[in-house]
């Protein structure tokens, strides 16, 4: 039995597809970043690539937050319930939409983010096809202002940090999602609602392969996550075999300073990477190729990448950049196959460019005469 997790090469943007063995499809973020008119744009044609794999609807689409590099072009691809204008053609339906609570309450949104907010609000009013992550005070306030939403009626659609997402179990679907963020700090009563959805997915293979989906959060939020998770003795929920790192190899997700050659992570992030990473684990940077200089202030930062590479090497694992996989010239989706017996392995497409076909024989004898 095999499950798959695929990261798409779309520059500094996130799209992750999880294909479960029961044929369910979970998509985390959707950002079609490619300029169709630019022949030199090496970013992948995301809708085309997704349609190769997902023929029917998506069981879950999770938007970790509503920045452009996580939602770009989603309203052209998905069938949206709230307006007929988004229902034409071959659009893919979303059975369940996962969004952070902030999307519902935020004001001054424009463009795609505004469309996403409308869709989320519509689904919430219908009390179906949506899960909202975290329950900031603002959410209740917003509900109270609405005539057609009663906060008490939608409580069951809210998922808090520190919980498993309902509807997915290891035994049933073969995967479970543990929510780390966004969370509301109970003691300080501080809203962290501006933060994105961060989850740990655990597969039911023999290694219990764990994938952390880091979205775009910074090192301070990571610190909070580590502290809270350790406080509740849920350390295992921060263990990882595959780490989809936060914010496209930005140093800000590791520590306060970029560093000269290597970013020094804060103590909690250091613990997360160096202690909680399993042997032969993988780090995936959803980003452009790592630059060799510091000319660009935007991520990826070579210093952060240097740290990730070192962590991966120490664990005899690997660090892969989506836009470099398998080559810089022609990036392709980066897929890990999660085999129920031997755990995660990189998917390598058979060499299609063979100039001369040959009869394939087993290289070593032992073909049992």
């Amino acid at each position: 039995m095999e499950q798959k997790i695929t990261f798409y090469p779309i520059g500094n943007a996130d799209t992750t597809l999880i294909e479960l063995s029961n044929d369910q499809k979970v998509l985390v973020d959707y950002a079609d970043m490619r300029c169709k008119d630019d022949p030199n744009d090496k970013r992948i044609d995301l809708p085309a690539e997704l349609n190769k794999v997902v023929k029917k609807d998506y069981d879950v689409v999770c938007f970790t937050h509503c920045d452009n590099d996580h939602i770009c072009g989603f309203s052209d691809f998905f069938y949206l319930q709230h307006a007929t204008v988004y229902q034409s053609g071959e659009r893919k339906k979303i059975k369940e939409l996962w969004v952070p609570a902030s999307i519902l309450t935020e004001t001054n949104l424009t463009g795609e983010a505004r469309i996403l907010r409308s869709e989320a609000r519509y689904r919430l009013k219908n009390k179906s096809g949506i899960l909202v992550f975290s329950r900031p005070k603002k959410l209740k306030e917003w509900c109270d202002q609405q005539e057609d939403i009663c906060y008490d009626d939608i409580r069951h659609l809210i998922v808090d940090a520190g919980q498993l997402v309902p509807g997915f179990t290891l035994a049933g679907s073969g995967i479970e999602f543990f929510v780390h963020s966004p969370f509301v700090s109970g003691t300080e009563n501080v809203d962290r609602n501006c933060e994105a959805i961060v989850m740990q997915a655990t597969f039911n293979d023999s290694c219990k392969t764990k994938v952390i989906l880091g979205s775009d959060i910074n090192h301070e939020v990571w610190s909070d996550i580590v502290k809270v998770t350790r406080h509740f003795k849920n350390d295992e929920r921060l263990a990882w075999d595959i780490f989809h790192i936060s914010h496209h190899s930005s140093y800000t997700s590791l520590g306060p300073e970029k560093g000269v050659n290597e970013t020094v992570p804060n103590d909690n992030v250091k613990w997360l990477f160096e202690t909680m990473g399993n042997g032969r684990s993988r780090i995936v940077s959803p980003s452009w190729s790592i630059p060799t200089n510091d000319d660009d202030v935007q991520p990826p930062h070579r210093q952060a990448a240097a740290y990730y590479k070192r962590v991966a090497n120490n664990k005899q694992g690997e660090f892969r950049v989506t836009m470099d996989h398998p080559t810089k010239n022609k990036p392709e989706p980066l897929t890990y196959i999660i085999d129920s017996y031997s755990c995660a392995r990189l998917f390598i497409k058979a060499a299609a460019a063979i100039s001369f076909p040959y009869e394939h024989k087993t290289s070593r004898a032992g073909d049992g005469k």
């Binding site: 005899q316 755990c343 392995r345 290289s363």
Partner: protein
């Protein structure tokens, strides 16, 4: 300034090939067609990085010769997180293409911590490890050689090894020694029957071809010694032994004290001039236990010493020459020194087991007829057709035969009959 972090992969984490001097060349400047095509295929493909090519300009005149070309590269592999053998997601390999294309391109894993897994070639150097990608002879492989297939096969070697599934039931457990020094045919009951006569069939340069069996042979110039080791789980031979001392060291692991085994052979027969001037032929059986299984394999190794027993005896202080050299030899009571045996060079011969009825049945593809192997068959008439039938059946290991024919071989029968001129005027049956 590069500081090494613990565990970080640095250049020093990789071995270099034991090549005295080499020159880096561009892919398109490679002279050997196979090497160039291989390097181009690598460069054009995905999941391969850092393709670098070299030409040897000063070799060691053994395996590495001037003009040999080497391609090194990093190959990315679809290896699982959970592995049996520590093969990494990315491995650095070197492939050496012999200048005359007279041997299979050698594949080396350069990582210093590469595990000592099965299916390696045993070289005269221990590092780097040389992978045994193919069992077939290069002559067979040449016919359908393709660079892409070679890359795929290397990849598949590494992936299967990582899962511990490369080894198949019918394959030997020891790393393959490179048998370059000749061949020997052993009779199939050689391990438990004496005497054994060994004689030379042909010799070409330093390569010798020998036969060992129980039939008396007047020109037997070799003394045969059979040794059997205790069963081992792991291969003990990681490098081809070059001299008697190397071999002694290896065999100690298998519970054989080679030097002490030689002492009685040499001292007991000290006055037997016939024996003492013979060269030593060692046949060593190393039973191996396959990991996670009760299966025991019996691998044979044959080593031929370049010196005769007398020289070995003197070398090891078992005997000494009489002062006048022409007379007998005397025994000094001095301990032997195995390390001195490093002066005695040995050759490695590929052993072949002589044919038997069972093997004939197997090789002829008639295993399914096992039950009629011993069937008594009486054939009447062994003429042109009858002799063909009988000979083919018998060669395939089938039947116990009684032949009836009153005719005798005459010259004109030679045209069609299986018998040849040696049998003229003998009975056809």
């Amino acid at each position: 300034m590069s500081t090494k972090h613990p565990g970080q992969v640095m250049e020093s984490d990789y071995y270099e090939l034991p090549v005295k001097q080499s020159l880096q060349t561009g892919v398109n400047d490679l002279k050997i067609d196979k090497a160039r095509d291989f390097a181009l295929t690598l460069s054009a493909g995905t999941f391969v990085d850092n393709v670098i090519c070299y030409t040897i300009i000063e070799g060691d005149n053994r395996l590495f010769n001037v003009g040999d070309e080497i391609v090194t590269f990093d190959i990315h592999l679809d290896i699982s997180q959970k592995v049996v053998n520590d093969i990494r997601y990315t491995e650095r390999l070197a492939v050496q293409f012999p200048v005359n294309d007279d041997a299979i391109p050698w594949v080396y894993a350069l990582r210093t911590s590469f595990p000592l897994v099965l299916h390696r070639h045993s070289m005269y150097f221990e590092n780097p490890v040389c992978l045994c990608i193919y069992e077939q002879s290069y002559d067979d492989l040449k016919l359908e050689w393709r660079s892409q297939k070679f890359i795929d096969d290397i990849r598949s070697w590494l992936v299967l090894t990582s899962q511990g599934t490369l080894h198949q039931e019918d394959q030997p457990l020891e790393p393959f020694l490179i048998f370059n020094d000749g061949k020997i045919v052993l009779s199939n009951d050689i391990e438990n029957k004496e005497p054994v006569y060994v004689y030379l069939v042909s010799q070409k340069g330093s390569k010798v071809n020998l036969v060992a069996n129980h039939i008396y042979h007047p020109q037997s110039e070799y003394h045969y010694l059979f040794l059997k080791g205790s069963p081992q789980e792991h291969g003990i031979i990681n490098k081809s032994p070059e001299n008697l001392y190397d071999l002694h060291e290896f065999l100690l692991t298998a519970g054989i004290d080679l030097v002490e085994s030689l002492r009685p052979v040499i001292t007991d027969d000290v006055n037997n001039r016939l024996l003492i001037n013979k060269k030593l032929l060692l046949v060593v059986q190393l039973p191996k236990i396959a990991a996670n299984s009760d299966r025991i394999e019996h691998d044979f190794y044959c080593f031929l010493c370049h010196d005769n027993l007398k020289t070995i005896g003197i070398n090891q202080n078992f005997i000494s020459e009489a002062p006048d050299k022409s007379l007998g030899l005397v025994f000094p009571k001095v301990d032997s020194d195995p390390s001195k045996a490093a002066f005695i060079r040995i050759s490695i011969l590929s052993p072949y087991i002589n044919i038997s009825k069972d093997l004939a049945l197997l090789y002829s593809g008639n295993k399914q007829y096992k039950e009629i192997q011993q069937t008594k068959i009486c054939q009447i008439g062994t003429g042109a057709l009858g002799s063909e039938l009988f000979m083919n059946m018998a060669k395939s290991g089938l039947g116990t035969w009684s032949l009836i024919d009153e005719d005798i071989m005459l010259p004109h029968n030679l045209v069609r009959h299986q018998l040849d001129n040696n049998d003229i005027l003998n009975s056809k049956s």
